[in-house]
C-alpha cells in the first residue's frame, strides 16, 4: 500500500502542495493530471525521495520513506523524470543494468540473476538491437523505451512516471503506452503524471486531479466532464466505440 498523508510543500513562501492526501492499493494505476504549476511533478518527486518535506509523509507499506536510505528506496520505487539529462555518451546496456544498481554491494555490483533479468527484459521489450548503442544516438522514443525498460529491470512494485510521452511521435507514444500497460498487467503499481488524458484515462483505474496544489478529486476513475472543465477549461468528451473508451478534447 502506498500512501501520501497530508502532504504539503513550499518553496520559500510559495505553497506548491497543500494537504494532498491519497492512498493506493497494489496494482493500482493512478493518473495525476492538472494544469501547469499544479504541483504534479512535485508530488511525484516527493514520492521518489528526490524532494523531502516535513509536512505530512509518504508511506510505502507502513514505512515513511524518509527513513529509507536512497538505496533501499530504489528497491521499492522507480522514477522516470520528465526530462532526461544525458549529455555524455553512455551505452544502453549500462543504462539498463543500472536498474540493478540498488541490489548490488560495493564490491559485487551485478549477480547472475541481474544478468538474467537483463536478458529477459531485452527480449520482452525487443531491445536487442539497442543494447550496444550509445544513448545519445537514440531517438526520443527509443530513449524513453530504454528508460522504461530500465525501470522494469529495477523490479520494483511502484513505478512513477512524469510525462512519459513528452516529445514522442504517435507511434512511439503508443509503444510506450503498450509497455506501461504490460507492466501494469504484470502487477506493478503505476503513478503517472500526464496531460494526455486521451492516452491514459482509458487504462488508469484511479485518478488524482490537482489544481494550485490542492486536490480537486481523488478516487476511482470516473469520467466527469465538469471536473475536466474545472481543471483545464476545455470541454472533454467521451465516446464508446466497440466498448473502447475514446477521450477527446472538443472545442
Amino acid at each position: 500500500m502506498i500512501k501520501a498523508a497530508h502532504v504539503s510543500y513550499q518553496i520559500g513562501n510559495k505553497s506548491i502542495l497543500q494537504n494532498v492526501d491519497f492512498s493506493l492499493n497494489e496494482n493500482d494505476f493512478l493518473l495525476i493530471f492538472g494544469p501547469n504549476g499544479a504541483g504534479k511533478s512535485t508530488i511525484l518527486k516527493l514520492m521518489a525521495g528526490i524532494l523531502t518535506t516535513k509536512q505530512g509523509g509518504i508511506f510505502i507499506g507502513r514505512k515513511n520513506i524518509l527513513l529509507c536510505s536512497k538505496k533501499e528506496l530504489a528497491t521499492h520505487v522507480a522514477y522516470l523524470p520528465q526530462f532526461d539529462e544525458f549529455n555524455l555518451p553512455m551505452l544502453v546496456k549500462d543504462i539498463l543494468l543500472s536498474g540493478r544498481y540498488p541490489y548490488g554491494s560495493l564490491f559485487k555490483k551485478y549477480s547472475r540473476r541481474d544478468y538474467e533479468l537483463f536478458d529477459k527484459t531485452v527480449e520482452r521489450f525487443e531491445l536487442a538491437d539497442f543494447v550496444d548503442r550509445n544513448m545519445l544516438t537514440l531517438s526520443g522514443g527509443e530513449r524513453k523505451k530504454v528508460l522504461l525498460a530500465s525501470a522494469f529491470i529495477q523490479d520494483v512494485p511502484l513505478i512513477l512516471l512524469d510525462e512519459p510521452l513528452n516529445f514522442l511521435d504517435p507511434s512511439s507514444a503508443i509503444q510506450v503506452v503498450k509497455m506501461l500497460k504490460e507492466m501494469h498487467e504484470q502487477g506493478k503499481t503505476i503513478l503517472l503524471v500526464s496531460h494526455l488524458i486521451q492516452y491514459f484515462f482509458p487504462i488508469a483505474n484511479k485518478m488524482l486531479a490537482l489544481k494550485n496544489g490542492q486536490t480537486q478529486y481523488f478516487g476511482e476513475k470516473r469520467f466527469s466532464a465538469s471536473l475536466f472543465h474545472d481543471i483545464y477549461q476545455v470541454s472533454v468528451k467521451r465516446l464508446m466505440i466497440d466498448s473502447k473508451e475514446i477521450i477527446y478534447i472538443h472545442e
Binding site: 536512497k70 538505496k71 530504489a74 522507480a78 522514477y79 543500472s98 544498481y101 550509445n134
Partner: protein
C-alpha cells in the same frame, strides 16, 4: 579489450623505452649499465622524467574523465574546482616567503602548493555545505570565484614583493616535469593505482552521476554525497600532480574526449584509453620540450597547450562536420 588498446599500449611502451635514449646527448644503450656520465643522465634524469611524465599525464587525463562525468559536461576539468590555481597560490607563498620547511622529504614548494590545491576544494565543499540542496551549479560558481581569487592573490604577491623569485615562479606556473627524484614518482605512482582502483570500483556510480541527478537518485545513488567525496578525492590526487609538476594544461580536457571517441562509450575502454593517451601524450610532449630549442628547455605546459589547443579544435570541428 579491443585491439586498439593493445596497439596503443605497445606504442606508448615503445615511446617510453626510446625517449630516455634520445635528446641533445644521445645515449647508447651499451653505456647505461656502466658507471659514466651517460648512465647518470639516463638513470637519474631521463628515466625518472619519462616515468613521471607517464604517471602525471595519465592521472591528469583520468581526472578530466572523472570530472566530466561528475559535472555531466564534457568541458569540465579539475581546474573548474580551483585545484590548479589553489596549488599555484600555495607555490607563490612558498617561493615568496621562502618557506623552507619539509615534510617526509617533500620540500616547501610541493607541500604548500599541495595545501593550496586542497584548500580550494575545502572552500568549495564548505560553501556548498552552507547551501541546502546545493547543486552542480553551486560547485561551479564556487570554483569560478576561487579561481579569480587565487589568480588575484598570485598577481598581488608578484607585484608586492621583489622580483628575485619571479623567474622560478613563472617557470613553475608553466608546468614542467624536470627536476624530480624517484620519491615523487613512487608517491604519484601509488596515487595512480589508488585512483584507478576507485574509478573501477565506482564505475557504476560515475555512470549514474553522469546520467543526471534525478535518474541517479531514483536508482538509489546519493548523488550529492558521492559527488562531494569524489571532489575531495580528486583534490588529493590532482593536487599532488599539480604541486609536483605545476599546472599542465589541456591534458585533462582533451584526452578524455579522444578516449571517449575511440572507446565508443565503453567505460572500461575509455578509462584505459585515457590512461594510455594521457601518459603517452605527456611523455611525448616532454620529449619535445627537451629537444625543441636546446639547450633551453621549453616548459612542457607550453607544449601541451600549444599543440593541444589546435588539435582539440580540429577534433571538435571534424566531429561537428560529421553531424552535419
Amino acid at each position: 579489450m579491443s585491439k586498439k588498446i593493445y596497439v596503443l599500449a605497445a606504442i606508448v611502451l615503445a615511446l617510453m623505452f626510446l625517449t630516455p635514449f634520445l635528446g641533445i646527448i644521445p645515449i647508447h644503450w651499451q653505456t647505461i649499465f656502466k658507471s659514466n656520465p651517460s648512465s647518470f643522465v639516463f638513470w637519474q634524469l631521463r628515466v625518472p622524467r619519462t616515468i613521471l611524465g607517464f604517471v602525471a599525464g595519465s592521472i591528469l587525463a583520468l581526472s578530466g574523465l572523472v570530472c566530466q562525468n561528475l559535472f555531466k559536461n564534457d568541458l569540465a576539468t579539475p581546474d573548474l574546482l580551483g585545484i590548479s590555481s589553489g596549488a599555484a597560490a600555495g607555490a607563490v607563498l612558498a617561493l615568496k616567503f621562502n618557506l623552507l620547511v619539509s615534510f617526509i622529504g617533500f620540500g616547501g614548494l610541493i607541500l604548500f602548493s599541495y595545501l593550496g590545491a586542497l584548500s580550494s576544494v575545502f572552500f568549495v565543499l564548505l560553501i556548498s555545505r552552507m547551501v541546502r540542496n546545493s547543486s552542480l551549479y553551486t560547485f561551479l560558481m564556487c570554483g569560478v570565484a576561487l579561481n579569480f581569487f587565487y589568480s588575484a592573490l598570485i598577481v598581488f604577491f608578484q607585484y608586492l614583493f621583489d622580483f628575485s623569485n619571479t623567474f622560478s615562479l613563472l617557470r613553475w606556473l608553466m608546468g614542467g616535469i624536470s627536476v624530480v627524484g624517484y620519491r615523487e614518482i613512487a608517491f604519484l605512482g601509488m596515487l595512480l593505482f589508488i585512483f584507478l582502483f576507485f574509478v573501477f570500483l565506482f564505475k557504476q556510480e560515475f555512470l549514474l552521476a553522469s546520467a543526471g541527478d534525478h535518474f541517479a537518485q531514483s536508482r538509489g545513488l546519493h548523488v550529492a554525497r558521492f559527488r562531494i567525496y569524489s571532489f575531495l578525492g580528486l583534490a588529493f590526487i590532482v593536487g599532488a600532480v599539480v604541486s609536483i609538476c605545476g599546472p599542465i594544461g589541456f591534458i585533462a580536457l582533451i584526452v578524455p574526449h579522444v578516449a571517449r571517441i575511440w572507446g565508443q562509450s565503453n567505460f572500461h575502454e575509455t578509462v584505459i584509453l585515457s590512461l594510455l593517451l594521457g601518459g603517452g601524450f605527456l611523455v611525448l610532449a616532454d620529449f619535445f620540450a627537451r629537444i625543441l630549442m636546446p639547450p633551453v628547455e621549453v616548459p612542457v605546459g607550453i607544449i601541451t597547450s600549444l599543440f593541444g589547443a589546435p588539435f582539440f579544435l580540429i577534433l571538435i570541428i571534424s566531429k561537428l562536420k560529421k553531424v552535419e
